[in-house]
Subunit: 328 residues, 4 copies
């Protein structure tokens, strides 16, 4: 049984808390959050203790840390955990600043700390099935990947600033997905964007509608279509074209009931947002981290992956502003 | 080029007129209808002559007849055509009275007249595909057939009388379809019905909602589900379960566009009624009759098929009233 | 927190064990099984004790019993639990003999014991959605219900005897589903069956392919299509036609990935069998029992429902053998 | 009745011949093709005469011309037809050279000749439905369009030269589709391509896999995904995202039968290629030209549209080679 210290008792912290507690090999040992009321609620619910950052890091009973706190605390907590010999699971991003990310990863490397970055979609059973069928040769060599990712509704315009903007916050998942599916690092990237959903987002210097295209060494091309508002729930699909055919992973609907009537045939919307759609992914992701803790396997989505996704987000931003394809 | 005399210039006559005229090997030679205005309209449109029944039957230029007139004229016209050496295409039913049907078929047999009965659905590309995949062994031996057949909206209650009631008028197509798919004559039939759609239909002694079950010599079971009103267009589906799997032929929709929005995912209704849904079937059916005219093949849906469908409709009626399975 | 004594450590007992343990308001207190090794395995896994039937029934710490033992033990255990003031959750059937069921329910009634019978499919999110949309008036009045239920592969022929045959073992779920969806007790039933899958099943006096039709007081008709072998996984669908349209609950597939290639478009099979397909249903069912334990609601699927499903299974058997519709 | 002179008796000429002959208001009057055998075959089949270019242009009985001959004859024939007062239907492209196109259109304008360019996909019932639902406000303002267009298999490498390359030959349809759906001329275009399907195509200086992105004045973004080989038939889909939701027009399959079996659920491939998929589109396109001939409406897809599609194809080529977004 591995004892886990959970940093952050907010929305994503609560997702991890359930999964840590339900997993037969992990124990939610402690909760750390400057907002004490939130920490207490989780601690009581799962019979955990409350600790300070220092206590948790120094506590020899803690085997691993799960970092789901505010983005600007990630890099520090990672470094402390690495220095204290804890296995590290950290929500994306490591940091919004690339040089800070690199410094942090150097510390992780120096202490040889096992570290996994939370690109949860890699563990979505649908997307993983696409990756596995590609590996099994079902469609031959990958040629063209299309990732559709649309949020149900836009965040407040001010969120653009704290989140680092659409590419660093939202598209970063799709950039990682492209690397995961194609299995290569891209050689170039271009980006197109506009502000169609909320003018306030544009005034804040961000976009809400985008298309990003990447070329890969094998010749494969990946296209990402993003919007901050779908109008029909969380739109999360991928489509991979290869030598011998196509693999499509469609949306997961709220239910499978169809109603035929005057209006036609109506079926349910996609599951509303990431908490619903990626529930199974979060569980599978945690299983992977437990396997890392147990020494059964390497982290699949590691610091390098976290760094590369940010590298691509920054290059996409440069391409958007310059109107030129950026070489990587 | 075969010259065709068309009996009946109403709705179904017009369907056949187009197909006769468009087929490169048939010519719409004459139109016969006591309602002269209708006959004239068709005759002008397709450059045909107007004839009386006697003229058409006596005219040596007429190679084949297409009978789409009122039901109670079918048997007479068939007999006249057989006696005059014409090839016969007749819309279902031959007659609503079984002994009349048998007398008529005896005349057809005596004159060795090629005759095809218009169970158009046998020529629907979807249903035929099911039959062909069964023949090709795709699902092994047939075990359980489900036919769903629902009209978009009920006929006037008084139509129950002239049509011979739901089983003789509507279900008869499904009874023929079961024989066509399974490829056997059933050994028993049972029926269940109620009047759910329009009380006036019940007052006229008919039903509007029904389930019919047939057992076949091979052990296969066929189930027919009928309603006089769907609420969503013309519902025409079949599902065939066999040793090694299932074949499903779904509805043909008005278009293939899907709209994802607040309400969910909406796609179009099934094509409205038989003129739309079975347009391709009517064309393929006519092609088959042309092949019969050309001596290339036997009528696939012949007098025996017409008789058997009526036998089953009557047995279903008996089963409905007695609450007992009727042996055939 | 309610303490639960689990009777039966076999396949279905293990399903309940997980759900009891994972539910925040129930505790897997004890396991009872004459096969001690199985009981021990479960007890260790969930930190429960092993008890004899007598110990569990006499133990005041036990709030409720979950009966998942062999069918012929159900009625006795129910009576003992009722006499000892425990809330009762029992897998279907109560007993294969109707008079034994009635005696047992009399005891339950006498002691006013809360009792729920495990017709798990009522809690399937898809089927429940159909029931709820019907209640919400989405399709108006129910007119025709179709239940498709096919197992992936047949049981051994000898199972026919211990299980009471296909109708009492398998169809009984569909008979209950029809009552659940339509919300009435049927007035008549007829049945058609054959042995298409395995001749040994026929030699054992049972069937493996069936169609059952029921009429309800409202005029609604329900049709059940059963097979002991699908060839494509567990086929569990319902289709409800009403005044204003149709509701369809399709199969839950193993995944949502489609592969387009030379052969066409291939998507995954339905989930293999009941453990996969009804996983969510078992959890929801247990939630309902917890609500009953907490006094928040009445058992939704009670002794009467258990009795009626068996009454229908026996009437279906009579109808099958007599070839007559049986009035209820 | 309008008399039509058909230029070109090859594959596309034969498509138009049937539609001209079947339309109640047009008559296939003459066929013109330097390959006399082909011209004769068509002429006999449809009871038309054979003419030389000069004869047809000079013949006052000819009301309209249908140009389906080799690409390098289009511009000349258009000019001759305009000078001789014929209504013009011409297959795309007008010419592969933009200045030749402009000269040709100047002649058409000078003679005020009605002219329609054959971008047949505009008349596909599925795509038109998307355009109409957009116009009807179903999804609000258009924001992001995705056009998927993949041929079933690549042309011979040498075809790259005569066809002007993938963008001028294949993508040109998608460029026109984007203008048709969005209803604006784009302000910029970028392009990405590689040679994944056949190295000989790359050696011939062309590509076979591409992604093109266009920005429109309204802020809308259109993305085109192309491949010269699908592996599963002709892949022709569009997906339009707007303020209030999504419209998807999927592929038209060869049939609607699904087979559930050991492998999963298999449905048919998309219709094989353009002759099958766009059969209805060609008929609707011809109906539009007849309406133009009858003076009922303006050409919907005119010389300007033909020119603009080529402008976009050339700009895409420039963008591909420069790695820069090209402003228009």
């Amino acid at each position: 049984m591995f004892n886990i210290a959970l940093f952050g008792a907010g929305r994503i912290g609560q997702v991890h808390a359930v999964n840590i507690a339900n997993h037969p090999e992990t124990n939610l040992y402690s909760v750390i959050d400057p907002y004490l009321e939130g920490a207490q609620k989780l601690a009581i619910q799962y019979d955990a203790v409350i600790q300070s950052v220092e206590e948790a890091m120094a506590d020899p009973a803690v085997h691993g840390v799960c970092i789901g706190s505010a983005t600007d605390t990630h890099a520090n907590l990672i470094e402390l955990a690495a220095q204290n010999g804890k296995a590290i699971f950290c929500e994306k991003p490591i940091d919004l600043d690339l040089s800070r990310v690199r410094d942090c990863l150097a510390v992780v490397k120096q202490h040889n700390a096992p570290m996994m970055v939370g690109f949860n979609r890699r563990y979505d059973p649908q997307f993983r099935q696409v990756r596995e069928q590609l590996s099994a040769g079902v469609i031959g060599k990958a040629e063209s990947l299309l990732i559709t990712s649309r949020d149900p509704s836009p965040p407040p315009a001010e969120y653009s600033k704290v989140s680092g903007g659409m590419f660093r916050d939202m598209t970063i998942h799709d950039l990682d997905m492209a690397r995961f599916i194609i299995g290569e690092d891209p050689v170039s990237i271009s980006a197109h964007g506009s502000c169609m959903v909320d003018p306030a987002i544009g005034e804040a210097g961000d976009i809400d509608t985008a298309v990003i295209v990447m070329n890969f060494p094998s010749g494969a091309i990946a296209t990402i279509t993003n919007s901050r508002r779908s109008g029909y729930g969380y739109d999360q699909r991928i489509e991979l074209h290869g030598e011998k055919g196509l693999l499509q992973a469609g949306n997961v609907k709220e239910n499978l009931v169809q109603h035929w009537g005057e209006q036609g045939c109506i079926s349910a919307k996609p599951q509303h947002f990431f908490l619903e759609r990626y529930q199974a992914a979060y569980i599978a992701e945690w299983q992977r981290f437990v396997d890392v803790l147990a020494g059964k396997c390497e982290p699949e989505c590691n610091g390098y992956d976290g760094e590369q996704a940010l590298v691509l987000a920054e290059a996409a931003l440069e391409a958007l502003h310059s109107g030129k394809t950026v070489s990587l």
